[in-house]
């Protein structure tokens, strides 16, 4: 399967996990991958670039993936950006909160490469139809 030339930002505070996710995406063929360890770092990236996909953890001390999602969805210019939450957070309350805030998909850790690829493709396809 040909992988399009999409820009992805991975936001995860655990460095080893951030590296692991980037590696998984690279092995899938994605080449334009940036990483951030915090909401603030992600905001710096997103200030200069509209990206195709954000893959984001929930807890990003300080701040959260949910905060970033709400901020993103508040701006029309980000309507084409797919946002996928990838987190261990699986309380019903939090999942519903993320869905209401406009997350494109919500993945619970652990994540396998095949699942990640399928979910990334799905989220991107969904956003491209908006």
């Amino acid at each position: 399967m040909a992988v399009p030339n999409l820009s992805i930002v991975v936001i995860e505070d655990v460095q080893a996990m951030r590296f692991h996710l980037k590696q998984m995406l690279q092995e899938m063929g994605f080449t334009r991958i940036q990483t951030a360890s915090s909401v603030e770092e992600a905001q710096v990236i997103l200030m200069v670039e509209v990206v195709d996909l954000i893959l984001c953890d929930w807890y990003l001390n300080p701040g959260s993936g949910l905060d970033l999602l709400k901020e993103l969805r508040a701006k029309r210019e980000n309507d084409g950006t797919a946002f996928v939450m990838l987190t261990a957070e699986n309380t019903k309350e939090k999942v519903v909160e993320a869905l209401k805030a406009g997350v494109d998909d919500y993945l619970v850790k652990p994540i396998a490469a095949a699942t990640l690829l399928s979910k990334v493709a799905g989220a991107l396809a969904k956003r491209s139809h908006r």
Partner: protein, 149 residues
Amino acid sequence: MTQNRQEKIEDFVNELSDFARNAESTLSEVEKDLEGNRQMLQGFAGMMLTIRGTAQQLGFADVAHIASLGEEIAVKGAAAESRPQIRKCVGSLWDVITSVKYLIQHHDQETGEEQQILVNRLEYTLKAFGGSRAKVGQDDIERLLRERG
């Protein structure tokens, strides 16, 4: 160049150990003023969640399970109404953090009877506080996504 598996696991183990040390410091702060600092247990819960997620990704099931119990007990502690309840939670969380730290460092060794006794005790404590919060699996999430449209 991709990292080999052993190097990757070492990186994870080192970082998990850092999180565990931070969680331990948080618990020490809570102990200094149980009622005044109990909200810090929310932060502790967040650290346990991070450890759980990372441990799950690595396949460290024992670490993940105990961290999960720690997360839930910490949430109960933060919302506890009395000092004895907070004290009970903090006592259990010391067991959690001690075990988590040990299991991370000895992730390649089999766990024994003592570990199971600890898990039983933690589960009993959590049950006494009303049990875990409602959780959803990936299938439930997909159903919720479909319903949302």
